[in-house]
């Protein structure tokens, strides 16, 4: 399995990463090597094996439906590159 330049460009777009032509070629080779490396999993018989999503045998907990947090707007936006009147500011998305 090898990733063509156009495959890399598609993945980069899905991952919201701007990449140059040179990078698409370089990553293509490296990603193909990694994909080929992980392909060996195909040898393993996994019929009737349940996927393991979490190693801990812990049930998710429920908590009391009460307010435990909040009122920290200034803290939430403190690290924003741009904010205004308590909001995050982004470039215009609706014309």
């Amino acid at each position: 399995m090898s990733l063509e330049k156009k495959d890399v460009e598609k993945v980069a777009r899905l991952a919201r990463l701007k990449i140059t032509d040179e990078e698409a070629t370089r990553y293509g080779t490296q990603l193909s090597n990694i994909i080929n490396f992980v392909e060996q999993l195909k040898e393993v018989d996994t019929d009737n094996v349940e996927p393991l999503a979490s190693v801990v045998d812990i049930k998710l907990r429920l908590r009391e439906d009460v307010v435990t947090d909040g009122g920290i707007q200034a803290d939430v936006i403190a690290n924003a590159p741009e904010s205004l009147e308590g909001f995050f500011v982004v470039p215009k998305v609706v014309e």
């Binding site: 801990v56 690290n79 590159p81 998305v93």
Partner: protein, 495 residues
């Protein structure tokens, strides 16, 4: 006069209790040492003012008879733990300047126990790497040098390279780390110190910058097993803010070190005798086996048949979770923003300039593995093999109590080596990744040096929630190995 930077934590606590010195004095000694060892690049952010303030507060607290588990001990914090009011970078450009308004649960526990923070230590970017060479803030230099006169700078291992280098170089008494596929154990081995990753769920992940959430686990670096037990004791504990945190009592790890290992069954997994393993690694492993046998343990041969599939499994699961976790870096809520012509381009430019090469590779691998048409073939397949790997361990633990293996397939390599090919770098974690996939506690203890005078570590892997036996076996190895070597430049200072 006592060398204030070359004590163990336990010795320092005793000295503080006896009023031989104050926390301010030990802390100042570490700040001086830290500033004279800047060539190692172990710290991203030094926090001497905070340290001295905390030390003074600790001395005052102690004078009133209020003494915590780590009272007055100067430590380093991996720069993956959010620290209130102190820049937290995760080794990435994208988080440069990010100053959390909250404290991670692990560091909250440690500060409540009286720990003093010297600063935030370097790491691979988002903890992705095995040599600490992917940090935006530069490589960390291993304090150890080869003894053959070649002056090559060596890698400290990764991803917690700054933590391991700092503890080894005596510029922190202990340090926190995180381990996703070996990021505590491998650097501990490379730097000749002790590192423990507890069972997944033992330490809260809340406030730790996420890489691969089903694998990430915090742990402790120190210069001996007892100190590691003590630090882990402080870090661990149930936290309702982390849904995978275990609501289990934390045993007294230090008290658990007492007693011997007579009759304990030590499993030796045959699959860890990999092709091309250097003879020195094989020899140190055999020494470890002999030491434990002499201490009264029983050696049992076991098999973990899916071992060879652990790395490929890891390199699907970890990147998949990373691509999902790192989607949050969009230049909107925190961190770097690079403006584009519209919002999408702003995302793309921000992420392109904020992330380094290795992080981008892993995001793309993960995105690919999770993308439509490939999800079952890669991600679900990897999760199935992950179960088989976990089952192997549970099967082995029917015959033994802990496993003994080498920590890494080599001693520290020179910076620049293994960098041409990502897969070659990944192979460093061949002995540590399987236990991570199974969520098991694992520890590396220095066991000896190779022919170039570089430290080699042995790894002990335990059953889920059985850190006590892991520590006890580590302690037995420590006693037999009697590892006293120090990095050359420390020996020069000490002499």
């Amino acid at each position: 006069m006592t060398n204030l930077t070359n004590m163990t934590m336990v010795e320092a606590l005793k000295g503080l209790e006896n009023k031989d010195f104050t926390s301010v004095e030990i802390t100042q000694a570490h700040i001086d040492a830290m500033q004279s060892a800047r060539h190692l690049n172990a710290y991203i952010t030094e926090t001497p003012e905070i340290a001295l303030k905390q030390a003074a507060a600790s001395d005052a607290k102690r004078a009133k008879g209020d003494v915590g588990l780590l009272e007055g001990i100067p430590v380093a914090i991996k720069d993956l733990f959010c620290t209130k009011g102190v820049q937290t970078t995760a080794g990435s450009h994208i988080l440069e300047g990010f100053t959390p308004h909250y404290e991670s649960s692990v560091t909250t526990n440690m500060f409540a126990d009286g720990a003093v923070m010297l600063g935030k230590v370097n790491l691979d970017e988002f903890a992705m790497g095995s040599a600490n060479t992917t940090s935006y803030y530069g490589n960390v230099i291993n304090p150890w040098k080869r003894n053959n006169g070649d002056d090559a700078d060596l890698a400290p291992g990764g991803s917690s390279g700054g933590s391991a280098a700092a503890v080894s170089a005596r510029i922190a008494m202990a340090a926190t780390g995180t381990d996703t596929g070996g990021s505590i154990r491998q650097p501990a081995a490379f730097c000749g110190i002790t590192g423990i990753k507890p069972t997944y769920g033992r330490c809260s992940r809340w406030g730790i910058v996420a890489f691969s959430s089903s694998l990430d686990q915090a742990g402790a670096f120190a210069r001996n097993v007892e100190d590691s037990a003590l630090l882990l004791q402080s870090m661990a504990g149930f936290d309702p803010k982390d849904s995978t945190s275990a609501d289990l009592p934390v045993p007294d790890f230090v008290a658990g070190l007492k007693g011997d290992i007579k009759g304990l069954k030590i499993g030796i997994p045959k699959e860890y005798r990999v092709d091309g393993m250097p003879k020195e690694i094989e020899d140190i492993w055999q020494k470890g086996i002999d030491w434990l046998k002499d201490a009264g343990a029983e050696i049992v041969d076991v098999s973990l048949p899916h071992t060879k599939y652990a790395l490929p499994t890891y390199y699907i699961i970890a990147p998949a979770e990373c691509s999902s976790n790192l989607a949050r870096y969009d230049g909107v809520k925190f961190g770097l923003r690079v403006e584009g012509k519209d919002l999408t381009e702003s995302y793309e430019l921000t992420r392109a300039s904020g992330f380094g090469d290795e992080v981008k590779r892993r995001i793309m691998i993960g995105t690919y593995a999770l993308s439509s048409g490939y999800y079952d073939a890669y991600y679900i397949k990897a999760q199935k093999v992950r179960r088989l790997i976990s089952n192997d361990f549970m099967e082995a633990y029917k015959k033994c109590d802990v496993l003994l293996t080498p920590t890494a397939p080599s001693a520290a390599f020179a910076l620049g080596e293994n960098e041409d090919d990502p897969i070659k770098m990944y192979l460093n974690d061949v002995f540590t990744v399987p236990a991570s996939l199974a969520g098991l506690p694992g520890m590396s203890v220095p066991a000896g040096v190779d022919s170039l005078g570089l430290p080699l570590g042995l790894q002990i892997i335990g059953r889920p929630w059985d850190e006590e036996n892991v520590l006890r076996v580590g302690h037995a190895i420590e006693k037999s190995a009697n590892f006293k070597q120090m990095p050359q430049f420390i020996e020069k200072i000490a002499a």
